[in-house]
Subunit: 343 residues, 2 copies
């Protein structure tokens, strides 16, 4: 066996970036994770990071093998050659199962169709198909693909997604938090300065620019203000080997702010991880809102709000800034996923 060819197939870049090539052919039970992101959304990068930690910590006797998104087709062909009866196929978690990110959805359909005879897991997702003709057409395509796989289980990260999955698919559904909440990183004590706005610039954005401007002007009265996003613009791709570095950089950015104002689910989650006060607004279909309501509402330094009146928001922010940060432990809530991976 050379490092370039496995069972006659070329081992192209993006297949198994996280292991030595010989790991593909050892006799361990394997978990193949497809959809490992190369795009610069740090939320999705953190999810893939967390899935790897989850499998390696709880199932060190499995071989965990990632396939990057850009190598999906070649990865499917190679895995078909080496997969054994007992192996597990997964597709990464996130908020992209549905009609909003069709490149990803098309990859996922291919994976679930291709491995219909193997235990298949869709890692925790929010599911959303737009209520438009195009959205419903895509829903049908997704149903047709997933329904070919009788061994698929879909993990939902909010209660509302559990309902959507039950209405849409025949697959069993399990309910767990977002994978990033399974991490247990000790927050760094960094000097905190200013208010950081972490705001969407994509099709899920619903927070109006006028309101954002008003909020930013108000915040400027109290000190420095900066605006950013959890989708990085300074790089074009983030490959496996750089994932941890960019994730840590983003966590440090959050941890060195006095207050986060965001409409990003993962800016909220990173705030929780770093004990940073955080006010959260919604996106187009409520994924930050419902993760907050379902799992995180007991956190005293983070609050979700639909209010858009600064005078109503001030006392909330005041309260978040004053709170002695508490903690919650949702790691027990991943039990359904542990049980599924174990069986």
């Amino acid at each position: 066996m050379s490092e370039k060819t496995i069972k006659g197939r070329k081992l192209v870049k993006g297949i198994a970036p996280n292991v030595d090539a010989d790991a593909l052919l050892n006799d361990k039970r394997k978990v193949f994770l497809f959809g490992s992101p190369s795009y610069t959304n740090i939320g999705d990068q953190a999810i893939a990071y967390a899935i790897e930690k989850f499998i390696r910590n709880h199932f060190p006797y499995y071989e965990y093998i990632e396939i990057m998104d850009y190598a999906n087709d070649e990865g499917i062909e190679l895995v078909k050659e080496i997969i054994k009866e007992d192996d597990i196929v997964g597709y990464t978690g996130g908020g992209n199962l549905g009609s909003l990110y069709l490149d990803i959805e098309e990859d996922r359909r291919k994976v679930f169709e291709s491995f219909k005879n193997y235990k298949t897991i869709s890692f925790p997702q929010s599911v959303y198909f737009e209520d438009t003709e195009e959205g419903q057409t895509e829903k049908k395509k997704t149903q047709d693909a997933y329904h070919q796989n009788p061994n698929l289980t879909i993990a939902a990260r909010e209660n509302q997604t559990v309902d959507v999955v039950k209405e849409t698919f025949r697959s069993p559904v399990i309910y767990t938090p977002d994978m990033v909440l399974s991490l247990d990183i000790e927050p760094r004590d960094l000097h905190r300065e200013g208010v950081l706005f972490v705001l969407r610039a994509d099709k899920e954005k619903v927070t109006e620019e006028d309101f954002i401007s008003e909020l930013m002007s108000w915040a400027e009265e109290t000190g420095s203000v900066e605006r950013t996003d959890t989708v990085l613009s300074e790089v074009d791709i983030i490959d496996y080997k750089d994932r941890e570095k960019y994730f840590m950089k983003t966590l440090d950015k959050i941890a060195s702010s006095k207050l986060i104002i965001t409409d990003r689910l993962h800016a909220m989650i990173f705030s929780i991880m770093t004990k940073t006060p955080c006010l959260v607004f919604g996106n187009s279909y409520g994924k930050a809102k419902h993760s907050y309501i379902d799992w995180l509402s007991e956190i005293n330094f983070v609050e979700y709000t639909d209010k858009k009146d600064i005078d109503q928001l001030k006392p909330i922010i005041e309260r978040l800034l004053k709170a002695e940060p508490n903690s919650i432990d949702v790691r027990k809530d991943f039990k359904p996923l542990r049980d599924l991976l174990k069986s």
Copy 2:
């Protein structure tokens, strides 16, 4: 920089087996772990495995670098060249701080002396100096070495060791469970068969052979019986790259038994991890006993006993075999170690 030389020093085998050579020179804060075991005691192998997981899970922004026991002197010289003010030096945990394992104790003295200007951590240990002339001479040597290091903190894994450390050393002491209890490995469901005796064959052994024979004869009436030890004899050394493999193999051995009878602390801990009923006897200075009493007595399928009368042991074993295995979570008890590593 070549992979063979770092700052003019040869990177010999055993230095940094867990990272690429360039990790030695990046700008991350570093944790150098000395004493990483190459000997075949799977308890000590599991401790080093757990320390690595602990640092990588909770402090992914640190660079974690191991130095194998057989490269101690060369490792000290190399680390002296590259260490920076804020870095951390650690020596692995176990039950070997004292006069019983002098080769290890001599290495540890050298490490603590060599890095007296850096934050230094002795990972969770049992401490025991024999009450003999030689034992007390060694204690004096250890005191002289450790007392040169004003930045040393000693972690004790039993209450009795906290007392010994306070009486013996000037260093601050923290109290945590054995590092292996920080792991969260999902136990495998394996077919269980027979009674496995896991028994010491070393200087800490106090369980008499006559009694063992009697117990084994009794066990043979109920099915198959096997005798082993957590010190492997089929290999001479276990290097970093093979650590996980042998650890998993030992866990599987425990998990495929109906009952463990042992005088080994880590056979008890592996039983807890795999939900295997386990009866525990003592060693020469009570390390299994006190870990049990201090941290683990609420486990309903494991029991420590000093009894040596089979008729008294039968009902205990009966009870352990019938128990629906419960679980405890001692991971919160590692907080003093997390705080120390963070500061």
